[in-house]
């Protein structure tokens, strides 16, 4: 794992800086990304809630919706930043873990690659 050490450190630094991605839009009063508005926002923009959208918008209850625990989406700024930071590390472990297991499972079976290092 030694050759990956620098890369892991870089990921850690990125995670520590992640709250910038939460605070900068707040400071500059930027809203949601285009096409990622909540149902209330759509209602305000076009004057009605599209019927199909209303039915499926909440099809899935994500456990950490908007990168915060349930009910904490509108917590105060410092708390929100902390949740965002935790989400960054949670994301590293979840994405890294799943991708690692999948890559191990895929490469660990069948014929070894022809150009495998000796």
């Amino acid at each position: 794992m030694r050759e990956y050490r620098n890369l892991l450190i870089a990921l850690g630094v990125m995670a520590l800086l992640a709250p910038l991605g939460l605070y900068l839009p707040q400071i500059m009063k930027a809203g949601a990304a285009w096409g990622e508005w909540g149902i209330e926002e759509v209602k305000r923009m076009v004057g009605y809630a599209p019927e199909g959208m209303e039915k499926t918008a909440d099809a899935w209850k994500a456990p950490m919706k908007d990168y915060a625990p349930p009910g904490e989406e509108s917590a105060s700024s410092p708390t929100r930043g902390l949740y965002y930071l935790l989400s960054a590390f949670l994301g590293i472990f979840a994405c890294g873990g799943v991708a690692y297991l999948l890559a191990r499972w895929l490469t660990g079976r069948g014929e070894p690659p022809a150009n495998r290092r000796p």
């Binding site: 050759e3 620098n6 890369l7 892991l8 990921l11 990125m14 995670a15 992640a18 910038l20 991605g21 900068l24 839009p25 400071i27 500059m28 009063k29 930027a30 809203g31 949601a32 990304a33 285009w34 096409g35 990622e36 599209p50 019927e51 199909g52 959208m53 209303e54 039915k55 499926t56 918008a57 099809a59 899935w60 209850k61 994500a62 456990p63 950490m64 908007d66 990168y67 989400s87 960054a88 994301g91 590293i92 979840a94 994405c95 890294g96 799943v98 991708a99 690692y100 999948l102 890559a103 895929l106 490469t107 660990g108 079976r109 069948g110 070894p112 690659p113 150009n115 495998r116 290092r117």
Partner: protein
């Protein structure tokens, strides 16, 4: 660029899932054939990296936000099929765990962000880097690839949004899903991505590829450009 639940009608999101299944199959086979087991951590690093990049929301003051993806960078590092798998994993986790992007739209988002982006950008990079005489030239090729990749993905995303009113409009003229017509969706998405988010993507891609190659990072598998695993 993450399409939420409720914006796409079932025909669109089911078609996108159907298109993704064989692509995920090919990606899995390519990774199995090409990647050394000891290089498995590189896909993990790629998935974690794109997840983190997407947390850095870039504001358009008073307007909307967007972010880079790092999709072309990952394609340059581990190949476009490796990029497809690792970015798909990040998108699935964003949807399931964080509600970023819809669960019904996972196929659509993977098609745009994990397939169109790395392949469009990587093709451009391969084409341009042939003409690049130096490492700086390669970095510029990577940057242009990044810009092209994210804009290609923004375009296909905008088309998915934009065809919804054509497919699903009630008798009273109200949209059932995403309400904005094709011209509005394409215009809005492309304006933001060509000028702002594409530039951020280009900068990240060029600089990171340059420094990875300078430091002979283990992340860059394909240093010779011949597709072999070092």
């Amino acid at each position: 660029m993450h399409i939420p639940d409720g914006y796409l009608g079932p025909p669109t999101y089911l078609a996108a899932y159907a298109a993704c299944v064989p692509l995920w199959g090919i990606a899995s086979r390519k990774v199995r054939e090409r990647l050394d087991t000891r290089r498995a951590p590189l896909l993990a690093i790629s998935a974690a990296f794109t997840f983190l990049v997407m947390l850095f929301n870039v504001p358009l003051p008073g307007g909307s936000t967007g972010h880079a993806v790092g999709g072309v960078l990952i394609a340059i590092a581990v190949g476009p099929w490796g990029a497809m798998l690792s970015i798909s994993i990040a998108l699935v986790i964003q949807a399931l765990l964080f509600g970023d992007g819809g669960v019904t739209a996972i196929g659509a988002n993977c098609l745009n962000i994990a397939f169109v982006m790395p392949f469009a950008g990587y093709s451009a990079y391969r084409f341009l880097s042939r003409a690049a005489a130096s490492e700086k030239g390669r970095a510029v090729a990577a940057a242009i690839g990044g810009w092209i990749g994210i804009n290609a993905a923004a375009f296909t995303t905008a088309v998915m949004f934009g065809i919804q009113p054509l497919l699903h409009t009630a008798a009273d003229g109200r949209a059932l899903y995403s309400p904005y017509p094709l011209t509005v969706a394409v215009h809005a998405m492309m304006l933001q991505h060509t000028i702002v988010f594409g530039m951020v993507e280009a900068l990240v891609t060029g600089l990171v590829v340059y420094s990875l190659r300078q430091s002979r990072s283990a992340w860059i598998l394909d240093s010779t450009g011949d597709g072999s695993v070092r």
